[in-house]
Amino acid sequence: MQQEIIPHLFRQEYSKIVSVLCRRFGFEQMEIAEDIAGDTFLAAAQSWAMNGAPPNPVAWLYHVAKNKARNHLQHNSVFNNKVAIELKNELTQNADTEIDLSPQNISDSQLQMMFAICHPAIPPEAQVGLALRILCGFGIDEIAEAFLTNKATINKRLYRAKEKLREENIRIEFPSLAEINNRLDNVLTTIYLLFSEGYYSVSQDKTLRTGLCFEAMRLCQMLTENPATDQPQVNALLSLMYFHASRFEARFDKNGELVLYDDQDTRLWNWELVSRGGYYLERSHKGDTLSKYHLEAAIAFWNTQKDDTKEKWESILQLYNRLLQIEYSPVAALNRTYALAKANSREEAIAEAEKLKLENDHFYFVLLGELYTGLDDKVAIEHFEKALSLAKTQTDKQAIQKKLDKLGRK
């Protein structure tokens, strides 16, 4: 029993302890912060196995982490005072070895850590890895599984990212008010990437996939709880993630195979999450900011309405029209063309699709296959076959094969 709470606490508390210690020590001593946090959990595992978990496990963890940090700082100050005195290191001036693990300082440290990790100097992939490790407390093997790669690759990537944090002399602090909106864009991009990594992951580990998504949502939620970062676009992104997350249970069947939107059992959609999405969408309308997240959240809202109404598809089409003007992406271009078929006509959509020229993208041929299905099944089959030859993952291939099977049976 006592042992079982440790993984849960680890996920919850490891990142808090690391963030607070890193903020105190600076990125120069990031590994030491991670070691102290890791050692704290090791001590818990050993002590709780023998004596049982204490009445307040979190307080116990903080107490041990504080002691370990104090020992480190004292040891360090001995070194600095006696051995390297001529280096007149700044650390010696900071005689206070007490670590502040109050809720306020934890929350501040985590937010500041978020801004530090999402610094423009750090490559996006490394940002996601660092966020998973430092802010979400994911293990190296879990990160490797999420990225479908091996532990060595992830370790190397994290190592380089940490070097970069030091080289660029990135500080763990809040950006100035003037800079916060610029930097916030980067933070939101990373959070959305983290979410998508989980949402579109082909990993068979469902707990891991949903875990990634909920961590992204937790980080975004933290931003909405701080007045400086509680901006319209932050609320829009959170809303968007809630709407998507409402379909978690319906997106995969019992065998772990992807269930496409049209085939999903709406009874498995989570209306509690949909209504939270609605709440944050409402909150995102303060002020006159219209970010791409606002448009995507509005599209995601319409996707929680399964009925094929004229209003739904006309709204989705206009939202994509605007989204593409703000930021082009192939997936938005394809979805826009699908909405065009539903709102206007298939013939118009086919003509528009042919202008997209996304011939290396299997989704492009899936779209053309869909548009031709029923109009000209022979052409539809050709497109689906082309899509099948371009698809890379097993999940995508299965989904395309299903469409081909349906057409073949007619």
Partner: protein, 117 residues
């Protein structure tokens, strides 16, 4: 890749359209622009409503409306990316403004900011 301005010219800006007709044009214009944006060829755009418009003359005289002695006026413009003026003209052909008799879309290359043309 060059940038081209597609300038929508109305032959007679005084013609009053019904709100329903306006709504249809608005949707068609949004779909037209969305189609260009879906090809990653959209740069920017702006509509130019006929309300709150005036004309300032050489003698500093200010007259009402977007219309001078001639009734022709500009309804809006968008800037697109295109390899050639021909490609830009292909985009222009889809513009809903052209449904109106006598209306035109003028295609003009945008001068580069570095001073070259």
């Amino acid at each position: 890749m060059e940038e081209y301005a597609l300038i929508m010219r109305h032959e007679d800006g005084m013609k009053v359209a019904s709100p329903e007709q306006m709504q249809i044009w608005m949707k068609q214009t949004m779909d037209w622009i969305g189609g260009i944006a879906a090809q990653n060829k959209f740069v920017s755009g702006t509509g130019l409503p006929f309300a709150d418009a005036c004309v300032v003359h050489a003698n500093k005289m200010v007259t009402n409306g977007p219309f001078g002695e001639i009734k022709e006026t500009i309804g809006g413009l968008i800037i697109v990316k295109a390899e050639s003026v021909e490609e830009a003209a292909e985009f222009a052909k889809g513009c809903p403004v052209l449904q109106g008799e006598g209306n035109t879309v003028e295609v003009r290359k945008v001068a580069k900011r570095d001073g070259t043309h």
